[in-house]
């Protein structure tokens, strides 16, 4: 009975994601008729037609990027919450996003230094690599801190402080940057799924899909990790290896999302909770697939939300914060009573 409800829940989220994905293609700031959208998608319009440009080169990569980033943030959040045994952990809360931002800032500045080699795929490689490295490093720092901070709230404060410090470091770095680079970085900080063209989405997206796939075999050991490392070891889990794998997958997902769409807040912490509450389960075999679909749904919804302002685009992080912050606050107040947190 319960299993059936859960399966329906997964189908529901998949259908929702598909629906929102299609909505992304049909609705945007510039008007393209529904007929032209279909025509552009089916390749019946010339490649240089306005509708083709808008639908194929702008809206489609943006929708793909939102779907992937949402799924990645959600899975990254699930993995971090399990690894740190802390329901309020997430890539943004623990300073992992800030670490990735530092990596991005460094690779942008580095690219300036090697301006002569400014080939776009190479830059993307540097961007993605920098972000992953930054995320990995900051996650290792937080994990090392977790060994000394036994108290969950203390760890969260550590993560937030660490994030502040890293962000400050980024600001210092930016003082060497050119004004237009600073402007680009600030705009990037608002988060957006739109800034990624096909080249970037294709390159980073493939790695993201691989990382998402790599999280599937982690579902079972992660269930054991919920009981703590000693219990997990007694159940036959190679705790050190699994911990390493979880850190890698979570960092790659959080890092690439940051490289692709900026430091997107709240999706990584909110989407996992949504799934656990709806499925009333902590079993990763249920929560993780649901999290992939639900993360995509939330990100697509948030991206559509940025277009509600008509001709003025509302920044992505404003939308995710307006939706996510009240949800987390409600979760802490009501969820605590229902033993969800």
């Amino acid at each position: 009975m319960k299993d059936r409800i859960r399966r329906h829940l997964l189908s529901l989220f998949v259908v929702l994601a598909a629906g929102l994905f299609v909505a992304e293609l049909f609705w945007g700031t510039s008007f393209v008729s529904a007929g032209n959208v279909v025509a552009a998608l089916s390749g019946r319009l010339p490649p240089d037609a306005g509708a083709t440009r808008i639908v194929i080169d702008v809206r489609l990569p943006r929708a793909v990027s939102a779907l992937l980033c949402g799924a990645a943030l959600s899975v990254s959040g699930i993995l971090m919450q399990t690894l740190f045994r802390n329901p309020l952990a997430g890539p943004d809360v623990l300073g992992v996003t800030s670490g990735a931002s530092l990596g991005v800032a460094l690779s942008i500045l580095g690219a300036k230094a090697f301006a002569g080699f400014g080939a776009s795929p190479l830059l993307d490689l540097g961007l993605g690599g920098g972000a992953i490295l930054g995320a990995l490093l900051s996650m290792s720092v937080v994990l090392a801190a977790a060994r000394h901070v036994r108290d969950g709230a203390g760890l969260l404060v550590f993560g937030v402080m660490f994030g502040f410090a890293v962000s400050a470091l980024v600001s210092v770095l930016l003082s060497w940057a050119l004004p237009d680079q600073v402007q680009r970085y600030v705009a990037w900080g608002f988060g957006s799924f739109a800034s990624s063209g096909w080249d970037r989405v294709r390159g980073l997206g493939v790695v993201m899909i691989v990382a998402l796939a790599a999280s599937i075999p982690l579902m079972k050991p992660c269930n054991a990790l919920l009981l703590g490392e000693t219990y997990a070891a007694s159940l036959g889990v190679d705790v050190r290896f699994i911990r390493f794998a979880v850190i890698c997958v979570a960092s790659v997902l959080a890092g690439l999302t940051t490289a692709l769409s900026g430091p997107v807040a709240f999706i990584g912490i909110a989407a996992p909770h949504m799934c656990r509450m709806m499925a009333s389960s902590t079993d990763h075999r249920i929560v993780l697939p649901l999290g992939i679909a639900a993360g995509g749904v939330v990100a697509l919804l948030a991206d559509l939300g940025t277009r509600l302002g008509g001709s003025t685009v509302i920044p992505l992080n404003v939308v995710t914060s307006l939706l996510g912050a009240p949800f987390i606050i409600w979760l802490i107040l009501a969820g605590g009573r229902r033993s969800r947190i």
Partner: protein, 343 residues
């Protein structure tokens, strides 16, 4: 017969600090062993070492005669299940999910449970009196209920060896006795080896087939092994668990307070054994010691009518309706007696 699990020349502890050295202990299939000793003696550490979860500084732990160092974690997890003292109040996790995790070592990479797995889970839940509790969320349970779920998880693992660290903590008295009975049944009827570190001295001594007694006062690196009654007779249990203010009475299985006035009181032994024992408890509780008529300074007896207690002493004779009143009067009389006289 090779013991299922044994520790050979084991030295246990953390880092460079060894708590106990030269340990040589063994458990055979179908045995229920209780691990007793004061706090900090190394009970938890020994259980961890036996489970292959660290804490073994030198020596070997042998599973079926084979060193744990040469067994993979996956193999060990199919043979040894543990109950730790760590809290399992995991947000959102249900009792069913927890107990199903006991089958973790036997499932495929996806973690899908077979019918056999599910029946092991159902059985463990039933044994721990938790049938129908599958969907309850762990943090919402009482500490004792959660402890039962933790034991159910270990039972569901259906391992040859079961190691439990203070499994009766938080349980009410009925469930304490019940858990010990279950653990012994698991050992006796299913032929598993069960080792439990316990603080319930009396219960442990009533159920254990054998006791491993840590005796840090006599020798920090020694563990005394024997049947519960033999250890009681040898005085080992009394020695380990008595202090300046508390004495363990091996025959009664109770703790007797050594502080207080220690004034000798004679208690008349009537026909009703229950009345005599309760009177004895009352006297010891307020600091008196039972004595024979010649040495006693006061005497307590049931009235001829059988409806009151008669307390006689230098301060006069009283007829008291209940043992509560007897206790109050004794306290007054003890306080009046000077410390010198009480020696």
């Amino acid at each position: 017969m090779t013991p299922v699990l044994a520790i050979r020349d084991g030295s246990i502890g953390y880092g460079s600090v060894s708590l106990v050295r030269d340990l040589n202990l063994a458990v055979e299939a179908g045995e229920f062993i209780c691990l007793l000793g004061p706090n900090g003696a190394g009970k938890t550490t020994l259980l961890r070492a036996l489970a292959g979860l660290g804490a073994l500084l030198s020596g070997d732990v042998l599973l079926d005669g084979r060193s744990l160092r040469r067994c993979s974690r996956a193999t060990v997890s199919t043979r040894i299940a543990v109950v730790l003292t760590e809290s399992l109040a995991i947000p959102g996790m249900t009792v069913g999910e927890l107990v199903r995790l006991g089958r973790h070592p036997f499932t495929d990479w996806k973690g899908s449970l077979s019918d056999a797995d599910l029946s092991a889970v159902r059985k463990a839940l039933a044994v721990m009196d938790l049938s129908g509790w599958e969907d309850r969320v762990l943090p919402e349970l009482s500490d004792g209920e959660r402890q039962r779920a933790a034991i159910a998880r270990a039972l569901a693992q259906e391992s040859d060896v079961l190691l439990l660290d203070e499994p009766t903590t938080y349980l009410d008295l009925t469930h304490r006795a019940e858990v010990l009975r279950i653990l012994r049944d698991v050992a006796w009827t299913e032929g598993r080896a069960v080792v439990a570190a316990l603080h319930d001295l009396d219960l442990a001594l009533r159920y254990a087939d054998r006791v491993w007694l840590f005796d840090p006062k006599a020798d920090p690196s020694r563990v005394i092994v024997g049947g519960p009654e033999d250890l009681l007779l040898s005085g080992a249990v009394e020695r380990v668990f008595s202090s300046r203010s508390v004495r363990y009475d091996p025959l009664d299985g109770t703790f007797e307070l050594r502080n207080g006035a220690r004034i000798p009181v004679h208690i008349a032994k009537g026909t009703d054994e229950r009345l005599f024992r309760m009177a004895l408890r009352t006297v010891s509780r307020v600091g008196g010691v039972p004595a024979d008529r010649r040495e006693a300074r006061m005497s307590l007896a049931r009235s001829v009518s059988g409806e009151a207690w008669i307390l006689e002493g230098p301060d006069g004779t009283e007829s008291l309706g209940s043992l509560e009143e007897v206790a109050a009067s004794l306290r007054k009389r003890f306080a009046a007696a000077t410390p010198d006289e009480s020696r």
